[in-house]
């Protein structure tokens, strides 16, 4: 009897598991772990260094679950509230109501947006260059010890120069393209007057940290900060080919702005999960004939 009961229990468990799978399939764990790194289970190895003694920042860097809300440049401000000027507020309203997400149109997100993004990135480094490689097949190359160009041509990543300040790699960027660029996933604005100063450190082998200061007197009443730590990816992990514009059917269907923003500062609807049996399209009277 015991063995029969055990078999029946096993079958019952299997049926429940199959039913759960039928109702609510989910992302694969590997997809979630591609976005989020894991804290090391043993004390992290010391900061690797280059032959000339600087910290080596290279590696594949993934977000932490502690970074909340991701995609929001106001993450570290009370209520996530950015100090917008009247012009900045107008630019935000324009972004929300009249611009489609530039990244969805395969336009470079630039910085600081890439640093606020959920997506992992890679850094490669030599004594003359530190290069950021981003998932959407964009790159940012920072010359070490260079001076800003005179009247630089506006670009999405700006005119950037790097220098070592002790163990901190400082990237100073000016010369950005102006509105309607989104500074983050929430469609907050940035202007061509923006000045971004990034201070990157690698406190140990498993972590890289950014202290960012954004100064943009056209759109923000005062400079503000954004602080974030990423975790080292697994050995062998890295970027692969990504073709944004191969078949961008989205282009014709995307509305302006990112859609609703939740109270937690992320994007999306506060709605129940997908019903087990949703209604047919005939339940809605606003589908185009």
């Amino acid at each position: 009897m015991g063995s029969i009961a055990a078999v029946l229990l096993q079958q019952s468990i299997a049926a429940v598991a199959a039913d759960a799978q039928r109702r609510d399939p989910d992302l694969l764990p590997e997809e979630v772990s591609f976005l989020f790194g894991e804290e090391p289970k043993t004390p992290a190895a010391p900061t690797p260094r280059t032959p000339d003694g600087h910290p080596y920042l290279g590696g594949f860097w993934k977000g932490s679950r502690d970074t909340k809300p991701v995609g929001n440049i106001g993450k570290d401000l009370p209520g996530f509230k950015l100090p917008l000027t009247p012009a900045g507020d107008a630019a935000l309203q324009h972004n929300l109501t009249a611009t489609v997400d530039p990244e969805a149109l395969c336009i470079i997100g630039g910085i600081p947006r890439h640093s606020a993004s959920a997506l992992p990135f890679e850094i490669v480094q030599n004594k003359d260059r530190v290069v950021f490689l981003y998932l959407y097949t964009y790159f940012r190359e920072i010359p070490v010890g260079a001076q800003h160009a005179q009247d630089p041509d506006p670009t999405f990543f700006g005119d950037k120069v790097g220098r070592w300040d002790g163990d901190t790699f400082v990237i100073d960027s000016i010369g950005f393209k102006g509105a309607p660029i989104w500074i983050d996933e929430n469609a907050n604005p940035q202007s061509d007057a923006m000045h971004a100063v990034e201070r990157w450190t690698r406190p140990d082998a498993s972590h890289i940290h950014l202290e960012l200061t954004v100064e943009d007197p056209k759109f923000y009443t005062r400079p503000f900060n954004y602080s974030r730590t990423w975790l080292a990816g697994k050995p062998g992990e890295g970027l692969k080919e990504y073709s944004c514009s191969e078949n961008n059917v989205d282009r014709a269907h995307l509305g302006p702005g990112p859609g609703p923003i939740r109270k937690d500062g992320t994007r999306g609807y506060d709605v129940p999960p997908l019903p087990a049996v949703p209604p047919s399209p005939e339940a809605y009277d606003d589908v185009k004939k």
Partner: protein
């Protein structure tokens, strides 16, 4: 590469309008940044219209067990998802029942769509 959102779910789809399509496949686009398949769907009066279903990219779907060869023209699919905000016959395909009965997740990681806890760091 796992499918990673290149736009917010809520910029394109209405999370308050879940929908089920039951139809036959007329076209398949196994492409980046999303895969698409198109269904002929009959309404209660027998009138047939063609719907586009947006799904994850080929790599993501393959890893979830959905290979390109699992569907072909004329196959019947059940697709649960959300209507586009622009009112067109276009949905986000988040839960797809394949012809062999398997159910796979069709969404994009981190897009903030209903059930995508990754977008909130969970």
């Amino acid at each position: 590469m796992p499918c990673a959102a290149h736009h917010s779910f809520a910029a394109e789809f209405d999370g308050t309008k879940p929908v089920r399509l039951v139809g036959t496949i007329t076209r398949i686009e196994w492409t980046n940044p999303h895969s698409y398949f198109y269904l002929d769907v009959a309404d209660s009066k027998g009138h047939v219209t063609n719907w586009a279903c947006e799904s994850g990219n080929p790599g993501a779907l393959s890893r979830r067990g959905w290979k390109k060869g699992d569907i072909k023209f004329g196959d019947k699919l059940i697709v649960d998802g959300y209507l586009a905000k622009d009112g067109s016959k276009f949905i986000d395909a988040r839960r797809v029942t394949l012809p062999d009965g398997r159910v796979v997740y069709g969404g994009s990681a981190g897009d903030g769509g209903p059930g995508d806890s990754a977008s909130q760091g969970k």
